[in-house]
Structure formats: C-alpha cells, structure tokens
C-alpha cells in the first residue's frame, strides 16, 4: 500500500487558500440528501457535527457519555494558541507553524501544520462570537499569556478551564443544530464497529448502553473524533472513560494507526499515592514559572523523607539538587515537557525520589514566595520588613497567581503546598499518534475521516502546550467542513445507504458474538485488574524511556496477558442491560491489541525524538538523539493478529531546516 498524503501543490503559505477555493463542492440541495456520522463530541467532534449540520448535511452524532458536554476536552486547563499577534510581539502564522514543527521534533507534515497555524486565528473569532468568556484586560480586549517552548504570548485562556469553556461553546453550537433537527444526537451509544461497503466507510455498529441493544447506523461517510489512547497506560490524566475502541475497531477494519509510540508525558502531575489509584491529576505547566524542581542530594535524606521521618523543609539548601537548573542552565525549570519528565525519572531512578513510592520530586515555591514577598513589601513602602511579613506577603502573591491549583493540590494530597514543597511526578497526558490521515483528514479507508487527538496529524513527536485545543477545533470547525466535500462530491448519486445491507448484518452479528463471549468467559479476574496489569507493562517498558530489550520482553508479556484475559476475565451481568463492566471489558481488550502495536512502533523507531526516548540513542549528556536520515517518516501500522505490518510515509521538509533542540 502506498500512502498518499494528498498535499496540494503550491507554496506553503498559499496551499490551503488555493486548495480551499478550488475544491469540489456539494450543492445545498444535495447536502440535504447526504448522511454523515460523527462519532465523539469533544472539541473536534462537536465542532464538526455542528458545522456540518449548519452546512445542511444530515448528521448523526454519537457519544458514549450521557451528554455531549462530558467529553474529556473539558478538562484542558491552560489555553489555546492562535497567531493573532494581539500583543504586538512579533507573532505570525509562520512563527506558530515553525514553533509547532520544531516542538514536534520535526516529525510532522509541514503542510498540515501550516494550515493549523492559519486557521488558528479564525478559531478565536468563532469562539468569542459563541460567548466563550476568554480572559480580558481592563480595556476590554483579550488577554494572552505565554506557554512552554515559545517566545511570544499567543495563548488565549479562560482561567484554568479553557477546555471547559471551548467545549461548552461547541456543545452549544451542537445543541442548536440538534434543536433545528439537522443533527440527530445519540447519547449513551458506543461505536463498536465500522461498516464498510465496497471498500468505503458506510456506517457503524453501536451499542445502546442503556438497553444493551446492538444497533446499525448507515451514512455516506463516517467521521471519528474519539480522542486519544493514553488510558492504555491505565494511569493517566485522561478521563476514566477515554478509550481507543472506536478508532481501534476502525483499525481492525483496515484503517492504519500512525506513530502510536508517540506519547506525551506531562512533567507536573500529582504523584501516585497507592495501588488503588485510578487516575492522575495534572497541575498546570504554568506552575513551573515560579516553582523550582529539586530532590535531595544525599540518598539517606531521600530515604528519610520517603519514610516520613523528614520533610522537604528539613533539607538544608546545600543538600538540595536543583537538577533542572543544574543540567539546563539556559531554560532551567522551563524546559519542554519531554525533557522535564525524563529528568524527573532519572532523579527517581537514582534513588532520590521523595514520595513513599519513591516516585516524586519536589516543586518548591519557597524562593518565589520570598522574592514576591520582598517585592510586594517594597511597593507597600516597607523598608525593613521582617521574615514573617515577607513570607506572608509572598504567599498572598502566590495565592493570587495559582490559588485554584494550590487548592486542588491540597484537596488531593492533603498537604498544604504553601508550607511544604509540592510533590510532583510525570504522567501520561496526550497521545500524538493516532489514525493515519491525509491532508483531507481522510484515513486510508475511503469515506472514513479522523479528527482531533484521534488522528496523528499535527504534533509530530511532541505536542506544545495549548496546541491540542487549537488542533481539535481547527479540524472540526475549519478543515473537515471543506475537505469532506472532496469525498462527498463524488457521492451525490449514491442513494441513501440502507442498514439492511449484508455487511451490516455481518458486523452486527460479530459484535453480538464478541459481547456474549466476554460474558461467557466467567473467569476469576476483574476487567480492572487486567487493565492495571496492562498499564504496568506499558509504563515500565514503553513509557518515559524505552529500549529494544525491554520492548521485546513487553511484547511477549502483552500477548500472554491478552490470552489470559480471554480465558479468565469475569464480566458480571448480561449483554442486554446497562452494564458498565461489559463496556470496560471491550475497551481493555482493544487496549491490549493497541499496546502491542505501540511496542512494535517503539521498537521500529530506532532513534529518540520528542515523546519517544530510546535509551540506545542519547548524547553523552543523556539527551535525546534524533536520526533524521533514517527516521524522518510516519510509521502507519496495519493490524494483524499475528504480525502487524508497517507502511511508511516519508516526511519532506522544504521550508524548515532540521536542527537539534538544545535547552542548555
């Protein structure tokens, strides 16, 4: 199979504009006769469903949640990037494009990324018009802040809940289309299979989660916006329900999974506190502006802290290792996510971790408190303030800046971060890999599209902060509504697709059989326990750093685990009822197959880049070493129970020069 990215000709800056103006269109009278299925109602899915509905298509939208508003896009904290240059600091479409390509460690497509940077501006306009209450200055205009890895302020934000406000905007636009009848909404429906007729995606099989009934839905094309697969690691910042099932079932029907090994590990999360832990919580990247990361220099101090005999406060200044400041003097605590995460892992691997589990480092605000305290005392006209006053004033400043985050931390950990240094550890946060798509966001299966985190397209091997929201909305509002026409314009003579086709019956039967099989195993282990074991394998061997030996071992382990699962899992209840355990069982089964492909991809990619760190490929100082000559390609995997097969899409860089990232 030859992968054709279908990148339009022309100069980088004009590609999209020109392409958009010469694209095939579907006339309004024909749109009314065309059905589109959209699966997932996060930023990308809700935006796409709403916009396609506005254009006049008959849309059927699906979510496994009880309401489209629950999608995990809602949990994004920091913000959304856009090349508006409102701050007059020299931002431009090109600069956003360049930062994104570089941040992604040169493993993404130039044309896609440039288009993303172009439409970023329209997103902000659209969201403001929808009533998204972005932060504003006293003059009433929009405020911006800066984010990791860039030198301009281009991030628009809505307190610490930007994702929530953007999602509500998209949800409301979707609700409006539901009320006009152009979108038919199916809540509590989980897609379990893709139906292909004559090679084209023509519908889905979904289970009504309330009744347990397996149902058929037909359309002229299918759009997947079903998010990422970070939960393959069991513990991640993803929501409990986030899963790969819809995308994976498409893979089982022939779609390709691209770059599955690219996983973003976010450096600042609340550490794991015990075996029972079900998920991890992110603390915004912005904390690293003022927090200093350190571990004790002496192993015995670290040990004493782990046993609770000492706290961070007991360690004198000279016995602390501010390792990020030491290793990366130029960027210090503000190195990009992948670098900060790996450094924390190194410190803990060396035995300096500070939580009972050994897996945590300190994020300390004490010096920021002193600094701010002095400055505030000075502006208040106090010339010789005592230490208590300074500390008190400093804490006030910190509270103004990060109050909600500190409160969240205290709720989870039970420790007061104003007094004791915070404990943090990296956690799986985002997956750059996903379904392979061309420039039209169409997968290799004609008529099957993938948007947002579900596709692999724009972030290369590492995603910059505040870019996920941008990409989801760009795909949903401003890309798919146009590019879907390239496929659908050829389908205007296709009559309504009927669910009575034999392909639907076959798929439905297969799903019913699989569900029944899960119930019938009646083994002894819970779904959750398998998921937890899978997560441990993935995190240990395919997590923050990987090596060939470990990956090979992990592949065997995963295959064994899969066999064990299909022999010994216990799923209570029946198929024909509301049964959350059954839902989870299907999802974990898919994760176990995906996990194998992730391992294969990590094994194949014999280099270190972005979120993928191979221990065999590092510089003398332990930094990631890319191998552009051999590995500047997208690895797209075809599923096969015995031996998945990889196809390459070579990446060409005509507009940027490939450089080594350095933060020293």
């Amino acid at each position: 199979m030859k992968l054709d990215a279908k990148i339009p000709a022309g100069s980088l800056a004009e590609k999209w504009t020109k392409y958009r103006s010469t694209m095939d269109l579907v006339a309004p009278n024909n749109k009314r006769r065309i059905d589109v299925i959209v699966v997932g109602t996060g930023l990308a899915g809700a935006a796409a469903a709403a916009t396609l509905g506005e254009l006049g298509y008959n849309v059927k939208a699906f979510t496994f949640h009880d309401s489209p508003r629950r999608a995990h896009s809602i949990a994004a904290q920091g913000g959304i990037n856009a090349a508006k240059n409102y701050q007059n600091d020299g931002d431009s479409v090109y600069r956003l494009f360049y930062d994104t390509i570089k941040g992604g460690d040169y493993r993404s497509r130039e044309a896609n990324v440039h288009r993303l940077a172009e439409v970023s501006r329209d997103i902000i306009d659209q969201c403001v018009a929808q009533g998204v209450p972005f932060a504003r200055e006293y003059g009433g205009l929009l405020a911006n802040r800066s984010f990791g890895g860039v030198q301009v302020s281009r991030t628009f934000y809505a307190r610490g809940q930007t994702g929530q406000q953007l999602l509500l905007g998209a949800y409301q636009a979707l609700s409006r289309q539901i009320s006009t009848g152009s979108v038919e909404m199916y809540n509590r429906h989980e897609m379990l299979d893709l139906v292909k007729i004559d090679g084209k995606a023509r519908g889905i099989i979904a289970r009504n989660l309330l009744t347990g009934k397996v149902e058929r839905f037909a359309a002229h094309c299918v759009v997947l916006a079903t998010g990422g697969y970070g939960n393959v690691f069991y513990l991640s910042t993803n929501a409990m329900g986030s899963n790969v099932t819809a995308a994976w079932r498409a893979v089982r029907r022939g779609a390709l999974m691209a770059n599955p090994c690219y996983t973003q590990i976010h450096p600042t999360c609340v550490p794991v506190s015990g075996e029972y832990q079900s998920k991890l919580t992110l603390m915004s990247e912005s904390l690293r502006n003022d927090g200093r990361v350190w571990v004790p220099k002496k192993l015995e101090d670290a040990e004493a802290i782990r046993q609770g005999k000492k706290t961070g406060l007991d360690i004198p200044e000279e016995d602390r290792d501010y390792y990020l400041e030491r290793r990366y003097p130029a960027f210090g605590n503000l190195v990009p996510r992948d670098v900060a995460s790996r450094a924390a892992k190194v410190a803990c691997d060396e035995g300096n971790g500070v939580a009972p589990t050994g897996l945590a480092v300190f994020l300390d605000f004490a010096s920021a408190i002193q600094r701010y305290g002095k400055s505030r005392a000075h502006s208040a006209g106090m010339h010789n303030p005592n230490k208590e006053t300074i500390t008190k004033l400093g804490k006030e400043v910190i509270k103004e800046k990060y109050g909600n985050l500190f409160q969240m931390y205290e709720k989870i950990s039970g420790e007061n971060p104003y007094e004791y240094p915070m404990k943090i550890y990296p956690a799986v946060h985002y997956t750059m890999g996903g379904l392979w798509v061309d420039y039209n966001l169409e997968t290799n299966v004609p008529g099957l599209f993938a948007l947002g985190e579900a596709n692999f397209s724009d972030h290369g091997a590492n995603r910059l902060g505040a870019s996920a929201l941008m990409q989801g909305l760009a795909d949903g509002y401003f890309v798919i509504p146009y590019t879907i026409g390239q496929f659908l314009s050829k389908e205007i003579r296709t009559p309504k697709i009927e669910t009575s086709a034999p392909e639907f019956a076959e798929a439905e039967k297969a799903i019913e059989t699989q569900l029944q099989k899960l119930i019938d195993i009646k083994g002894n282990q819970s779904v959750e326990s398998f998921h937890r074991r899978l997560g441990k394998i993935m995190w240990e061997y395919c997590g923050m750093s990987r090596n060939a030996e470990g990956l090979k071992k992990a592949r065997t382990m995963i295959r064994e685990l899969r066999d064990e699962f299909w022999k010994d899992v216990f799923v209570p209840g029946t198929v024909d009822e509301f049964n959350p355990e059954l839902e989870k069982a299907g999802r974990v089964a898919d994760f176990m197959e995906l996990g194998e492909v992730m391992i294969l991809d990590a094994l194949d990619r014999n280099e270190s880049c972005g979120g993928h760190f191979r221990e065999e490929h590092k510089t003398a100082e332990g930094e990631a070493l890319r191998r552009d000559e051999e590995y500047a390609y997208v690895a797209a995997w075809e599923w096969d129970e015995k031996e998945p097969k990889m196809y390459k899409e070579e990446l060409s860089f005509d507009n940027v020069e490939l450089k080594t990232r350095s933060y020293k």
């Binding site: 009880d66 309401s67 329209d122 306009d125 403001v128 409301q172 929501a239 079900s278 326990s529």
Partner: protein
C-alpha cells in the same frame, strides 16, 4: 479505616429500590470514588453485580459524577465534586449513606445512575448564541468590560452535574437554567437573542417537570462550582422583562 456503606441499589427505573449494607476498608488518601472502586472490586470478586455509578474525568470538571452522601449532594465538602472528595473527610468506623440524585425529572436508571438528559433539552431550547461557523468578526472587535466578562464566566463555570436539582427540596432546575441565561445574557454577543432565549429555556424547564424555585439557597450551597443565586434573580428579571416588555412570544 473501616467503613460501613449503606448504598442505594435499584435494578432499573421501574424497580422500587432498596439500601444495601457493605463493609469497606479504605485509607484516607483515597478519593471517594476510589473507595467505591474498592467496594466494586470486592463485589466482583464475590461474583456479584457491582454498584453502578457514573464518573469520568475524576478531577471535578466533567460533571459526570453524582452521589448524595449522608444527605448532601457531592458530600460534606464545600465547592467539591464527589471525585475530588477524599476519604480524609471521614473517620474510621463511620457509616456513610449513599443515594442517587433524587428528582422526578432525573429518573434513576440503575443504582446511583440517573438520567439528566433534561438538562441537554433545556440547552437545546436556547442555551446558545446563533452564530454559524465562519460568520464571526474579529475577536477584539467588541471590547467587553473585564468585570462583566468575569461575571459571565462565574455563571459559565456550571458543569451540568445536577447537584442544584438534587439539593433543592423542590427539585428545581433554576440555578442550572439561570447560569446559562446569565452567562450568555451578560455578554454583548448573547444579548441579541436573549428575549427569545429566556422564554424558550424557561418553558422547556417547566415542561421537564422540575419544581419551582422557592429561594431556599440550597442549590448555591451545594453547587460544586459555587454558582450564585444572583443568577436566578437575573433569570427572573430577564424572563419578566422578556414576556411583559418585549414583543417576543415563544
């Protein structure tokens, strides 16, 4: 810590339902939902059907989780969802009574899971600004006073969990509805269609069978996002001025 849980079990909407008592060993670092996971794992080990409860993000923003714990929606802590509640809030030997949201407009689906689709229908009735993709002018074309924007934001933080309805002795959805009316009605972009919006949303809210607001303030006290009943006053005002003062009839 050892706990006694009295959990509501109900097989389906028609079932009458009953309390079931279970013993659980937890520790204070667990979140409340992780304690429920422990309970469910032990039920599964005994080949029993686990307690159905809804949850997703487990960081207090998606609005999925919902339980009434010892008579209080989302439990005893102010401004906290169940998923953010940790077992530190309880003592060894405590008995904890766990019930679903109770309101006629939120029928129980199973155990602690209720149907909150009425909220979606209220939003569909008018909880949006009618702007198609691509129609927007430049984002900075209309300056909005910082305080006003912030006030709209306070209302917009609603996570749609339904604790307001669960807490209200009348099962009223006024706080939810008013939060959206206030969020959109305060912003210049949303003012344009606010007359129609408020009438449509209130009429849908009434149709769903929610009770009437008697200003007890229980909703505001239990709202995990601490949304104020000032919004309810604004809804009342907007509704009256829309019905009595505008030409719009919905």
């Amino acid at each position: 810590m050892k706990l006694t849980l009295k959990v509501w079990r109900q097989d389906n909407t028609q079932d009458k339902g009953r309390f079931e008592t279970h013993q659980v060993v937890a520790n204070e670092h667990m979140s409340f939902l992780e304690m429920m996971d422990v309970l469910n794992e032990s039920l599964i080990a005994e080949k029993k059907v686990p307690v159905a409860f809804e949850h997703d993000c487990r960081e207090g923003i998606c609005g999925t989780c919902n339980m009434v714990i010892n008579g209080r929606p989302h439990g005893p802590q102010k401004g906290t969802t169940v998923c953010q509640l940790h077992m530190r809030a309880f003592k060894d030997g405590d008995t904890i009574v766990i019930e679903p949201w109770r309101a006629t407009a939120f029928p129980v689906i199973k155990d602690l899971v209720v149907d909150r689709s009425a909220f979606d229908r209220i939003i569909e009735a008018g909880g949006y600004i009618s702007v198609n993709t691509g129609q927007a002018q430049d984002a900075n074309a209309i300056p909005i006073e910082k305080d006003l924007s912030s006030q709209a934001f306070d209302a917009a933080t609603c996570i749609g969990c339904g604790a307001c309805v669960a807490a209200c002795p009348n099962g009223s959805a006024m706080l939810f509805t008013s939060a959206k009316v206030a969020h959109l009605g305060l912003l210049p972009q949303g003012k344009v269609e606010s007359s129609k919006r408020v009438q449509s949303m209130v009429s849908q809210m009434d149709e769903e069978g929610f009770g009437l607001c008697s200003n007890t303030g229980a909703c505001e006290a239990e709202c995990p996002k601490e949304i104020s009943i000032v919004n309810i006053a604004m809804l009342n005002r907007e509704y009256m001025s829309s019905v009595l003062g505008s030409k719009v009839t919905v």
